[in-house]
Symmetry: C2
Subunit: 337 residues, 2 copies
């Protein structure tokens, strides 16, 4: 026994003394339906008395739409996604849709593809650096959109201005007088990492610097990755006075490793990272960040997915403002070095 017997439309209609089609139209607010107020009331009463709730599966079969959308993320433990999800959920709710989130990792490498093209959901937001699945996604014939990543294969994505955010971060360090600015970048395969690195290089070149390969330490978006990267940086010949870190997660590892190595922040090394989180204020020292409109990203993703047909061309950079949040991890370049 899974479910107790449920009340159906027919029972409501019988109790109210009208046809099922009338009840259906009233419930769905059909403007052509202008039943007498008393009839209308009888129907409402019957609905309440029986505790009727429409079977949305039957409705979905008939309308061939479920009003449900999916969001696939690589990993729930990355706090950035929390804000993307919240933005997406809020917008979906406002549009009368349901948004569900799953992680691609645990659905199996590409198991989330099973969600699309079987009528289960009306569309899917695909976030994170999944392998090149655009062909398989297309084969489902259902609407989908890359979120927070571009794609060379399909013009179907919405992203943040990661290039611009990197420029802001590097600009802040330059303004503080730093000359030797390293970049701890994200995983080489990650599209966000690529764009943040591009922004770093552009900002450095615009300031007349010529960053070399040694100035960029590839890492990943984890605490341990950041710690390893700083260790590598500290062992190099070049003397850096500042580092632009591609993610808060890595920056946490950087702060930890700096403490470990006896490097004072910001006296010996200024640290700035992309994305702001409540946690950033409570790090030791509090972390300077570039706040990006993450919730807005989720919101736009839903808006586009809901409104655009399956094959539409979407190449959007969310335009909501970014903000430099200066905390204690950055300071003027030390005269001592």
């Amino acid at each position: 026994m899974k479910h107790l017997p449920r009340v159906r439309l027919a029972e409501v209609a019988a109790l109210a003394g009208v046809d099922v089609s009338t009840v259906s139209r009233i419930i769905n607010g059909d403007p052509n339906q202008v039943a007498r107020p008393e009839t209308r009331q009888r129907i409402y009463d019957a609905v309440v008395e029986l505790g009727y709730r429409p079977n949305v599966v039957a409705r979905s079969l008939r309308r061939s739409t479920t009003d449900m959308y999916g969001l696939v993320i690589p990993d729930f433990s990355n706090p950035i996604y929390a804000q993307i999800i919240m933005g997406a959920e809020t917008r979906a709710m406002a549009l009368g849709k349901h948004l569900f989130t799953s992680s691609s990792v645990d659905l199996g490498s590409e198991g989330y593809l099973e969600l699309l093209g079987t009528g289960r959901i009306d569309g899917l937001l695909v976030s994170g650096e999944t392998a090149d699945v655009h062909e398989k996604l297309d084969k489902t014939r259902a609407p989908w959109l890359f979120l927070n990543r571009t794609s060379p294969h399909r013009p179907r994505y919405v992203v943040l201005d990661d290039v611009g955010a990197a420029r802001i971060a590097v600009g802040h360090l330059l303004q503080l007088g730093h000359e030797r600015i390293a970049h701890i970048s994200g995983p080489p395969g990650a599209d966000t990492a690529r764009r943040r690195k591009a922004g770093y290089l552009a900002a450095m070149q615009a300031a007349g610097r010529r960053p070399t390969k040694q100035d960029v330490i590839p890492s990943d978006y984890t605490n341990a990755g950041g710690a390893n990267a700083l260790r590598q940086l500290a062992g190099s010949r070049r003397q850096f006075t500042a580092v632009f870190v591609a993610s808060v997660a890595s920056a946490i590892g950087v702060l930890w490793c700096a403490q470990h190595l006896g490097l004072r922040i910001p006296e010996d090394l200024s640290v700035i990272a992309i994305h702001d989180l409540p946690l950033a204020s409570f790090l030791v020292p509090p972390l300077t960040t570039v706040r990006m409109p993450i919730a807005e990203l989720g919101k736009r993703g839903v808006e586009i997915l809901v409104s655009q047909p399956a094959g539409a061309v979407v190449e959007e950079i969310v335009s909501a403002p970014m903000e430099l949040v200066v905390r204690a991890s950055t300071g003027p370049v030390s005269k001592l070095r």
Copy 2:
């Protein structure tokens, strides 16, 4: 245009030259169906050639089951939930089910109730300290289960051994020689907070201590809450040498505030918290924790929800082992004080 026309069962049957019922039975692995190998092959070929994928909405209507389950959490930004979700998703996948997560905040205070009792999902895991919704949940007649919280109203929950975890934490501090051990507890309304506090009180009493109200500082599961609580503690007359913090989130605020106040950890104050996270290793100093089987909690929740009928009595404490993870934030009581 939302969807391109989809391939239906009838088209597969036509191409394979058999009845739809035969295709259906083959696809679903009906053991009574023993078609000739060549017929069977023709059907498989037709499925592949047409790219047929069953319409799961039609299937759901017929079977009155969706194989989809929901998990509602209060807030995606709490990293504990990441592990609950991963455990739940993994188990669901292994059982051939889909698990989707939504946050209750953004579905509206009780908007997630709309998910149940409309046939959309087969059952719901309700996590976090939502208001007393047991009556409304029951009214949906669908299976549901509280996750990580008990309920005085319905014997339908699976939780972790928070009392035992608190005993382990306090036991560790006692063993280090601490006499004055404060407790920064969770929000008063939270069931986990209640049980962790109960464990603290029990462990203290068992050791011959008589903790008073002043020894317990109510807080919430946030960085800021922990910082405020330590500030309060530092301002009190009593001299504490150790604090048992109900959550890692609060403990991060405690570490930050200690630094701010010039308190050395662990020399001046030992700090231990419930739940382990990768982040704990990268705090300054690294945080001693009690690791709990969080993923297992999600796993058991799914197992029970999938297997038990709607009204079943479930009062389970997940029995997987807990582990004290000693890092640098705890140490022997200082002789100086």
